[in-house]
């Protein structure tokens, strides 16, 4: 979230799209009801299904799964053609006036630089036109045909209300009503927030779905605003924490981009990431990358990381390609992996195309499952009849199960969706032989290190030199780890402006990432978390409910990264002169000599408004990106592409170009391409989702949850049910080109037949929570049906839109 949970109460309009907050985040959803009750806010839900969020909404619009960019592109077009944009914001805080290279093009659904054989773009042309001074050229009038504003206008002019309706199946009036409500928040005194989750990410266009909304929020001037922002509702109490601490294989903690194979030179590696400003006076905060990286390296390797050895740069991995979950299982399926340590993860249920996952796991020599519960993955080799038909005698994989504590038995920090780190204390000891995850991993590491020491091995340095100075090496404490990721001074850290002023003495915990240095005198395991455990103690454990702003910031509750800032880009909550756009929702303001207020300014404290320092300080140009430059794999502007399994067979935006039916930059492995189904055999759109009563595949082990939602079902519309002779409560078989499930049919008005491009499209809804382990009634893992293909940039699997057939079982 750019903002935070409580801040939802400050919104005037709440859009839920690509998520179902009431269903999946019922506790956080309370802030939606607060906004409605106390601000008179309106709630709009756009979803294939009239869901629990829609039940309490002011307006609901249906949409065909996988067409969000068409819908949002339509909104962009509506805002631009009806002048429903926040002009001062757009001109000053976005790259709308910036000129783009002449050779950047978009033709027939493809951006310049496409290589059809590699399914990849060369992104060189997706860049600004630089002047002779090295800065971007700009046109403040927004009239230059090569400025981002004009290019964007041209790009989205194709997304007319009629086209939106034709592609999405959303009735035109419903689309226009939503666009109108969104447009109202272009006023400086109106703010909209967007709540989304996996309903946007789990598409082959997932990242661009989110970007589309980010663009809308920039056009409306709603980013950096109290009650605004782009807000990802994370699916687990600490999934934000996992992401921050390098869940993604291509980054180190704090989103420090790992080196690629070709980046063998340390200085080159740093220089490439320490982005120089593209406009005068900009902060371009990634210029500090070397400080963050060196501090991280010192945490890893301590005294062994020296200036002479480039702070152990050669001991860090370099990647040859992304190692996302799809890539991992592709390799496993190809027999290129021997072992797999699977911690708090149930891939048989959670990675698409169960058949492929099962075959892949069968090729391993060993599988280690670290989990508090038995999981389908741990039992992938056991025959469970038609729920898991395997021949155990033919599977040689040795499975080790290491019982872990469950979350309530562990002490540590959680980072919630709103970036707030909160300390929690274990409530009980784990049962039997269970151990904390840290203890299990530490034990494995120490054994491995001993083996390297005794027996040697290929390239032992990164293992042997790792700093491991915990009081009990086999059981590092959560407090030790938290202090380590926050960071400390290894030598006295002085103020660069006044070397006599010591900011932190050697050995002290650091107060802020502003004190990190690139000379090896500081360590921090995650620069974003720096200061969470300062000399003042464990700030994550704070539980002070004072709220001076009255806006729900609670600055002394826990610790929000970065720097305890509650709303990111909060400089943009003020106009160019530094006054809040809406005085009733004031966070920070310029007081004549510095930025002050209720939140930690996201700005150099003494940057006077007339210095024109842009609010988006992480960007080298200081502004929000309507044009994404080279950041996305599939284009600087989001474009609608059909899901890989499309009911239409063509992209109605580009019916003549089969290359762009689906995302041309998504990676597609040969095996999985062959597994894709077509509409002639699988005529119905399917989408998977979660229910309030359950949490993923865990709570089917819990009696109360199982009582509340006992057995597997699917949802379908009344028209299709009638056509197929299916009555409510009948058992049906749902089949994709990869497998089938059997479930009870819930025939409902909440799913409706959509008119898409003159064709009737039916959607089948598939809740995912059942499997062959647990106390709930046994069921089929839903990903027997799902395709093994993902987003072009993030590689998140496309669980939300694929094709099936349905028949009475």
């Amino acid at each position: 979230m750019t903002n935070h949970w409580v801040d939802i109460k400050n919104a005037d309009l709440i859009i839920i799209m690509g998520g179902n907050a009431a269903e999946a985040h019922p506790c956080g959803f309370k802030w939606v009801t607060e906004a409605k009750a106390h601000r008179g806010a309106k709630l709009v839900v756009v979803d294939p299904r009239f869901n629990r969020s829609a039940a309490v909404s002011d307006f609901y619009a249906p949409i065909r799964p996988g067409t969000d960019i068409a819908f949002l592109g339509g909104v962009i077009n509506y805002l631009l053609s009806n002048n429903k944009i926040h002009e001062e914001y757009v001109k000053n805080y976005t790259n709308a006036p910036y000129l783009v290279r002449e050779d950047f093009t978009f033709e027939e659904g493809l951006f310049s630089g496409y290589d059809a054989d590699k399914r990849k773009y060369n992104r060189d042309t997706w860049d600004y036109a630089l002047g002779t001074d090295g800065y971007v050229q700009i046109d403040e009038s927004l009239q230059n045909p090569r400025c981002v504003f004009q290019l964007m206008m041209q790009h989205y002019s194709r997304y007319t209300p009629e086209t939106v309706s034709q592609v999405c199946g959303t009735p035109k009036e419903a689309f226009l009503k939503v666009a109108e409500m969104i447009g109202e928040t272009s006023r400086p005194d109106k703010v909209m927030t967007i709540l989304y989750a996996l309903g946007w990410t789990q598409h082959s266009t997932g990242s661009q779905n989110i970007r589309s909304m980010a663009m809308i929020q920039l056009l409306l001037g709603n980013i950096g605003r109290v009650g605004g922002g782009v807000n990802a509702l994370r699916g687990h109490s600490n999934v934000q924490g996992i992401t921050d601490m390098n869940l993604v294989s291509g980054v180190m903690p704090g989103y420090l981009r790992l080196a690629a194979d070709e980046e063998q030179d340390f200085q080159g590696f740093l220089a490439k990431r320490a982005l120089k400003p593209l406009r005068p006076n900009q902060m371009s905060y990634w210029q500090n990358f070397p400080k963050f990286w060196v501090s991280l390296a010192k945490t890893f390797y301590g005294n062994a990381a020296t200036k002479e050895n480039d702070f152990a740069y050669q001991w860090f991995p370099k990647y040859d390609k992304p190692y996302d979950v799809l890539q991992m299982f592709e390799r496993m399926h190809n027999g290129e992996m021997n072992g797999f340590i699977c911690q708090g993860f149930n891939p048989l249920a959670a990675v698409p195309c169960l058949q492929k996952v099962s075959a892949a796991l069968s090729k391993l020599k060993y599988l280690v499952v670290i989990d508090p519960l038995s999981t389908e993955t741990a039992e992938f080799w056991r025959d469970h009849g038609e729920l898991n038909e395997v021949d155990a005698s033919k599977i040689q994989t040795e499975v080790f199960r290491l019982p872990a504590n469950c979350f309530v038995e562990e002490t540590g920090s959680y980072t919630n969706s709103g970036r707030v780190l909160q300390w929690h204390w274990g409530a009980a000891n784990g049962p039997g032989e269970s151990k904390g995850d840290v203890e299990i991993i530490a034990g494995i590491f120490n054994k491995l290190r001993t083996m390297y020491k005794q027996d040697g091995g290929t390239f032992p340095d990164p293992i042997l030199n790792l700093t491991w100075s915990y009081a009990i090496p086999d059981a590092p404490s959560p407090e030790e780890l938290a202090q380590e990721f926050s960071g400390k001074a290894l030598a006295d850290v002085v103020d660069p402006k006044d070397p006599t002023k010591v900011l932190a003495k050697a050995g002290e915990q650091l107060a802020s990432f502003a004190h990190l240095r690139d000379d090896g005198s500081t360590s921090s395991g995650n620069w974003l978390y720096c200061g969470s455990w300062s000399q003042a103690g464990n700030l994550m454990a704070r539980r002070d409910t004072s709220d001076p702003s009255g806006l729900g910031f609670y600055p002394s509750w826990g610790f929000a990264w970065p720097a305890n800032r509650r709303v990111l880009y909060n400089r943009a909550n003020c106009d160019v002169a530094g006054k809040p756009w809406d005085p009733s929702r004031k966070t920070i303001a310029w007081n004549g000599s510095k930025w002050v207020g209720f939140d930690v300014p996201d700005m150099r404290p003494d940057a006077a408004p007339d210095e024109d320092v842009g609010p988006f300080i992480m960007h080298p140009d200081g502004v929000g990106h309507l044009f994404a430059l080279k950041g996305m794999a599939d284009g600087p502007f989001p474009e609608h592409y059909e899901p890989f399994e499309t009911p239409l067979g063509v992209n109605p935006m580009h019916p003549k170009n089969p290359l762009v039916t689906s995302n041309p930059a998504s990676r597609l492995f040969a095996y999985d391409k062959a597994q894709l189904g077509k509409a002639d055999k699988f005529p119905y759109v399917a989408t998977t989702y979660r229910l309030t009563e359950h949490y993923h595949y865990w709570t089917k082990n819990v009696l109360i949850n199982s009582i509340l939602q006992p057995s597997q079902f699917i949802e379908m519309d009344e028209e299709l049910a009638k056509e197929k002779g299916i009555a409510n409560g009948d058992t049906v078989k749902v089949t994709s080109n990869r497998g089938f499930i059997r479930a009870v049919a819930m025939v409902t008005k909440r799913l409706r037949t959509l008119d898409v491009d003159g064709k009737k499209v039916h959607t089948i809804g598939i809740p995912i929570h059942w499997g062959f382990i647990g106390v709930a009634k046994k069921g089929f893992l839903a990903n027997r049906l799902t395709p093994f293909v993902g987003d072009a940039t993030a590689h998140t699997p496309e669980f939300k839109a694929f094709l099936v057939n349905i028949e009475k079982a």
Binding site: F29, T33, R52, A55, V56, N705, L708, Q709, N728, A776
Partner: protein, 292 residues
């Protein structure tokens, strides 16, 4: 006195007067369920199970979100989901938390023939004291909302207690405490009516012209009330009665049948006494005792 801090105002099949010493008396309480804020998450059902140590059986999905499918001796509250189109083309998913309404004139209590099996506290809560329940099921007939359920395990009737044990010590009912959206609130009945007024104004502003409070007077008002978007059509909400009242059968039972039955019972006692006097006590033979 089942609970030190709550006086009993009415007691089933009892003619002795209720305690009347405490000066202030209890403030009538109420639980207000705002259906327009309810997201049907069933946290209230889970909290009810947890607090009251209830675990129903794991059922089957029968094509609806309602699970368990109905109230039972182990499920004292369930969510009932209704898909309705009040306005053509505007679908609504009305989700009503069903359970005891705690009527001011409780039909169950009136119908109950077993002394002290059903009581009404001075704060308005209607409670079942199962140790006195004889399992006749008359409370079910007496209830205009079809709430009490007989247990197959012990043949006694059960229903929501409005967490009388929690309320007695100044806590809100478990469902209220857990509700994430504030759809369920609890307090004095006066405050709850006031709170409802604010909600109704908000709903009218959002286009629900017939929004209103459900506090049916046919049962003397209730201590569980609903805010309804369509108060003119309560039956839309999974058959919530439009104008509930106590079944005439209960009135007949109380009015005519009961004295007749009392007479019958009295005669039976007399007959027993007559039998005892004329025949003496029934003594078991020695052989029979040995067999046992």
């Amino acid at each position: 006195m089942a609970l030190q801090s709550l006086d009993i105002k009415a007691r089933s099949a009892t003619t002795t007067p209720s305690p009347d010493v405490r000066a202030a008396g209890a403030i009538p309480v109420a639980k207000l369920i705002d259906i327009s804020k309810c997201i049907g998450c069933k946290a209230c059902q889970a909290a009810c199970m947890e607090w009251n140590d209830l675990r129903d059986t794991i059922g089957e999905n029968v094509g609806v979100y309602d699970n368990p499918a109905d109230l039972s001796a182990e499920s004292w509250t369930v969510m009932r989901f209704s898909e309705v189109e009040v306005e053509q083309g505007r679908l609504e998913w009305l989700i009503r938390k069903d359970g005891c309404m705690h009527c001011a004139n409780p039909g169950c209590l009136k119908a109950c023939p077993s002394p002290g099996a059903i009581v009404q506290y001075s704060n308005g809560i209607v409670d079942f004291h199962e140790e006195n329940c004889i399992g006749c099921g008359y409370c079910i007939t007496g209830c205009p909302f079809n709430i009490p359920r007989l247990s197959k395990k012990d043949n006694k009737a059960y229903k929501c207690t409005l967490c009388s044990d929690r309320v007695a010590v100044g806590l809100e009912p478990a469902c209220v405490k857990t509700c994430p959206t504030g759809a369920i609130v609890f307090g004095s009945k006066v405050d709850m009516i006031h709170h409802a007024e604010g909600r109704i104004t908000d709903l009218k502003e959002r286009g629900f012209q017939n929004a209103g409070l459900y506090d049916p007077q046919g049962v003397g008002g209730t201590h569980v009330m609903y805010v309804l978007q369509h108060a003119d059509q309560p039956q839309l909400y999974a058959g919530l009665p439009n104008d509930p009242s106590i079944s005439p059968m209960v009135a007949i039972w109380k009015g005519i049948t009961k004295p007749l039955m009392n007479f019958g019972l009295g005669m039976a006692v007399l007959a027993g006494l007559f039998h005892f006097v004329t025949q003496g006590p029934n003594e078991a033979k020695e052989e029979e005792e040995e067999k046992q």
